[in-house]
């Protein structure tokens, strides 16, 4: 088999669980949490590290921003043997009661993106794998890290749904805020629905420095670094739980 077109990987290059950050530089940050890790491939925004964690082969592939790029990574990763996809990312929180920073375990996503509409009718649910959700919540409790489960609004146009936008974003986002959606980000809809359709497991954990209503009250970069590190630790422990579940251990 030739290397996959974008991710430049061959079968055997990745573990069953692959972490998917958007940010290229975060692939290295996540890989630094493995017991060992090696850079396997680098093409466009797709950087892949594979290594070991507690005796299990795990990988991280950066996807770049957006559902379009994430879907390419997932399709090609499935072809080289990946089965569980865990996005580790950031977003802008919607609910003022969330702490700053906060870590959110995504249970489902509003399909406000274009990529998944090309794949599936929009009524198809973007729902996280139950065992990833439960694994993250249990792992967070074991690590004594506070997490909040809930929904993400996935959308395509960052500058039409961010405090940096010139638009009246709180009006645009009001239906989601009122419905209790926790956070705005861009990829969960793709990661969750594509994983479900391909009979894989999909999940997402997000960190947010602040909320769209009070962008001036953001957490510090150092606090966000710690939150991302904690989200990575939770994800690694979840990968261990999935390995035990899927291999009858």
């Amino acid at each position: 088999m030739e290397k996959q077109h974008h991710i430049q990987l061959l079968p055997g290059d990745v573990g069953e669980t692959v972490f998917l950050p958007g940010d290229i530089s975060r692939a290295k940050v996540i890989a630094d949490h493995f017991d060992s890790a090696e850079l396997i491939a680098q093409n466009r925004q797709y950087n892949t590290f594979t290594g070991m964690y507690k005796g299990i082969k795990v990988s991280v592939t950066s996807t770049g921003i957006g559902g379009a790029a994430a879907a390419i990574a997932i399709e090609e990763l499935i072809k080289v043997g990946a089965k569980n996809f865990i996005r580790i990312g950031t977003g802008g929180a919607f609910q003022t009661w969330l702490p700053k920073p906060c870590i959110l375990v995504i249970t489902g996503a509003v399909r406000g993106d274009g990529t998944t509409r090309e794949y599936f009718p929009v009524e198809y649910p973007a729902v996280a794998d139950f065992y990833i959700v439960e694994g993250m919540i249990t792992s967070a409790a074991e690590l004594n890290i506070e997490v909040h489960p809930g929904l993400e609004w996935s959308h395509d146009a960052f500058y039409a749904g961010s405090p940096l936008s010139n638009l009246d974003i709180l009006t645009i986002e009001k239906p989601w805020i009122d419905a209790g959606v926790l956070i705005a980000s861009q990829e969960a809809s793709t990661v969750l629905s594509l994983s479900m359709a391909r009979k894989c497991r999909g999940g997402t954990i997000l960190c947010s420095s602040g909320c769209h209503q009070h962008p001036e009250m953001n957490a510090t970069p150092e606090q966000m670094e710690k939150a991302i590190s904690n989200a990575t630790k939770i994800s690694l422990e979840t990968a261990v739980k999935l390995h035990k579940l899927d291999h009858g251990l």
């Binding site: 509003v110 399909r111 009718p121 009524e123 649910p125 139950f130 929904l151 209790g180 479900m196």
Partner: protein, 251 residues
């Protein structure tokens, strides 16, 4: 309590306190009586239109059962009014049309999410909002099946409106119509859950669904010959899940 809550709800005809924190909702009113028979004690609270409510006690836990009738329209009314009297957990217990070939009569399907192939929930919020079951109810239903020794499958289902477009009795080539959902890993068809999940999600209460499988609808085996026993198992799984939620303090 606001003024509105002190009056009987318009359709389900219930006052706060007349239903338990966890309510099982079958579509079929006849199944409420099966629920009542399986409880240690149960009493009929009210009956209006397709909404029959029994409340009872099982192993010391108070649980209620309210039929919603068939379809998302009456389910939305039932869900909305149950939330208004203070219900914390709503578990749909129902039958379905299995579409994956490996599903067998008597097996349980626990929904983690639902395709929103209906229009009722779209009146509440746009179609891209996900119909997701609460993970704590999913866990309670899994544990209930394990405790009762019932085989279960976990996954997504398709809720839709028109039975005679997607069922063994459907008009025309329903197989072709359904193939895309089979390919998309959907386990079964039914008529209520996506509205339940959307309303519960928007209002911050917990909801879930457990469905009894029959023969996959493309096989021509007909009716499950042990349907009555299997329906009893379905209702028992709902009752057991309600007990588990109570034990965990989730009510």
């Amino acid at each position: 309590m606001n003024i509105e809550m002190q009056h009987r709800q318009h359709h389900i005809n219930l006052l706060p306190g007349e239903a338990a924190p966890t309510v099982l909702i079958p579509g079929d009113p006849a199944r409420v009586k099966i629920f009542a028979e399986l409880m240690d004690e149960a009493w009929k609270v009210t009956e209006k239109r397709e909404y029959i409510t029994y409340t009872g006690i099982k192993d010391g836990v108070k649980i209620s059962c309210t039929s919603t009738g068939l379809g998302c329209s009456p389910t939305a009314i039932g869900t909305e009014e149950l939330i208004r009297i203070g219900t914390k957990n709503i578990i749909r217990i129902g039958t379905c049309g299995p579409i994956q070939p490996y599903l067998k009569p008597g097996e349980m399907i626990i929904a983690t999410g639902a395709v929103r192939g209906e229009r009722t929930s779209e009146e509440f919020i746009s179609i891209d909002y996900p119909a997701v079951a609460d993970y704590r109810i999913v866990r309670a239903l899994i544990d209930a099946c394990v405790k009762l020794g019932l085989t279960y499958h976990l996954g997504i289902i398709r809720t839709h409106d028109a039975y005679y477009m997607e069922s063994p009795q459907a008009i025309g080539d329903y197989k072709t119509r359904l193939q895309k959902w089979i390919d998309l890993n959907v386990l079964a068809l039914e008529n209520e859950s996506s509205t339940l999940f959307v309303i519960a999600g928007m209002q911050g209460i917990r909801a879930g669904t457990i469905l009894l499988s029959g023969y996959p609808i493309f096989d021509n085996y007909g009716e499950d010959k042990n349907l009555n026993t299997h329906i009893k198992n379905l209702v028992l799984a709902g009752i057991e899940a309600a007990k588990i939620l109570h034990e965990k303090g989730l009510d």
